[in-house]
Symmetry: C2
Subunit: 201 residues, 2 copies
């Protein structure tokens, strides 16, 4: 598109780099900003800059954080012997929001995927083994996506961790809360039968 303004053209070019944002959505965003007060637009620009200037990777778990040690690793209230292995920051958020996990996290930064050329050496794995050894971890919970890459990664890591004599578990697969049995795919339904749990009254 030929914009009559270089300023708009440049802003559209930057904003349309976001995943899922095309040039029409980007233009809508620019026109929205043009109508907002200056302090709000400047605040947004500063917040975007601070993603690069303030955000760090936690030296312990690999989570995104405002300090060298993230708030979860630094918290005295967390169980230090229990580790939950996740793919990325979004998964830490998802598990945290359940309020059901009281241990620490370990963020891999990806999953093993031979098709995409991602091997164990590309992930935050050496640090995982270091933490297991030095922190007397007694259980590692895998909370990875229920797809081929997630299953491969869980298999690869759990084999090595079990050899160290440490308990390994995975989050349960089964039918989602609220979903109809007839619309559940057979693999999920099959797994939920194999992994059935005692019914408690």
């Amino acid at each position: 598109m030929a914009y009559s303004s270089k300023t708009i053209e440049q802003a559209v070019e930057y904003l349309s780099k976001f995943p899922g944002i095309g040039s029409k959505s980007a233009l809508r965003m620019v026109l929205y900003l043009a109508k907002r007060p200056e302090h709000e637009v400047f605040g947004m620009a500063e917040a975007i800059k601070s993603i690069k200037t303030k955000l760090q990777v936690c030296s312990e778990c690999g989570n995104l954080s405002d300090s060298p040690l993230c708030s979860i690793c630094a918290s005295p209230a967390r169980v230090k012997q229990l580790l939950c292995v996740v793919e990325d920051f979004k998964d830490v958020l998802a598990v945290e929001n359940t309020a059901q996990f009281k241990g620490l996290y370990h963020v891999l930064g990806g999953l093993i995927s031979p098709i995409d050329g991602v091997g164990p050496e590309d992930l935050n794995i050496p640090k995982l083994f270091e933490r297991i050894k030095t922190n007397h971890i007694n259980e590692v919970v895998f909370a990875l996506s229920a797809n081929m890459e997630g299953d491969t990664t869980t298999y690869y890591l759990s084999k090595k961790i079990k050899e160290m004599g440490i308990a390994v578990s995975t989050i349960s697969r089964g039918i989602s809360v609220g979903s109809d049995l007839e619309f559940t795919d057979e693999i999920t339904l099959g797994r939920s039968i194999i992994n059935r749990v005692p019914y408690e009254l």
Copy 2:
């Protein structure tokens, strides 16, 4: 959601203000930025700031521009006696992209809409009449949306402009190029029959 990082929380808060962007999309945008090189993220922040610092409203037509007079009004190649009335900047872009209009624009900045409390006094209308008088305009083309607000605005303005003895036209309504007759609504089809044009071989 409880974010482990204030930086992320703040950036998500700002980005989710964009129309159509929720907190999940905003988080995806923040995580995307966290992976991009610093110069790119800083460039985006500057581009956002420049929307407020560099962008101006053209003193002549009301279009968004980098200079007091927009590039279209300043161009010696445009026909100065022909005006196209549009709602906003996006519509200027849309008409420009057809490469079928060689005159100048006039951006109203909205449409007359009694339901939303927008009257003629809230729009860029006095300047339109001033331009018609001082620039010896001989035709005004209305290119407004084909809805109630667009039709009301066209009616209100064209009545006044005709009284000044100046030709008024509207862009034609009809079935879209490439669309099936059976799926066209009856009002559009009816209008396209009334406004039929001689078929030229």
